[in-house]
């Protein structure tokens, strides 16, 4: 079956702009995660959804970052007033139950000029 998909694959924006990153999890997976990966680093946790609700958003760096999952499937990560330091690959993962394997999408490479 289809894996986790993320769109766009690349996003270039200017400092101060608003961006939205989309994640389509594996069908039937109830848990969805967002991570951020900087060059040469391991992914860092941002937020976790169980169903429609954000069960743990303690990894979001500040209030410019927000994520939603209104119907318990697709999720959108929203970044307001982007800064150059937000440049990274944003990864989405999903899992069937807890605790179990998380399957990652290909990521969205965000570049803030």
């Amino acid at each position: 079956g289809a894996g986790v998909s993320q769109t766009p694959s690349n996003k270039v924006t200017e400092k101060g702009k608003y961006v939205e990153l989309r994640c389509d999890p594996i069908s039937g997976h109830t848990a969805l995660y967002w991570y951020r990966q900087s060059l040469g680093q391991g992914p860092e946790f941002l937020i976790y959804f169980q169903g429609t609700g954000a069960a743990d958003d303690s990894g979001l760096p500040n209030d410019r970052f927000f994520a939603v999952r209104p119907e318990g499937s697709v999720s959108t990560l929203k970044i307001q007033r982007t800064e150059r330091g937000d440049s990274a690959v944003y990864l989405c993962a999903s899992s069937l139950t807890l605790p179990t394997a998380q399957y990652f999408g290909p990521g969205t490479r965000l570049t803030v000029l």
Binding site: A31, P43, Y48, P99
Partner: protein, 113 residues
């Protein structure tokens, strides 16, 4: 706070050799330890995972060795192949906290033909 430390940062192995990557963790509540393989421009792909109730798990050429008392675990890649050249990440999670993965810093493996 770095909760999962990974070494070495880079590793060069000849084809047919054994690649060994080590990780150490601090949080004794961690109860699931996956390894991910990541190729440039791709998302991390789950390779193999272990729970602390077993000391070793083998899947094909990949073996995880787990030492609960030392809080260490390692990945062994037998008969390493040039196609194994990638970045490898160990990770750990605590199921009761929602399974957010804490990743190591990564090991860039190069297998020379």
């Amino acid at each position: 706070q770095q909760q999962v430390k990974q070494s070495p940062q880079s590793l060069i192995v000849q084809k047919g050799g054994i690649s060994i990557i080590n990780c150490a963790y601090e949080n004794t509540a961690f109860d699931y330890f996956p390894w991910y393989q990541q190729f440039p421009g791709k998302g991390p792909a789950l390779l193999i995972a272990i729970r602390p109730d077993v000391s070793e798990k083998k899947e094909g050429r990949f073996t995880i060795s787990f030492n609960k008392s030392a809080k260490q675990f390692s990945l062994h890649i037998m008969d390493s192949q040039p196609g194994d050249s990638a970045t490898y990440f160990c990770a750990a999670t605590q199921g009761t906290s929602g399974s957010r993965l804490t990743f190591g810093e990564g090991t860039q493996l190069t297998v020379n033909p």
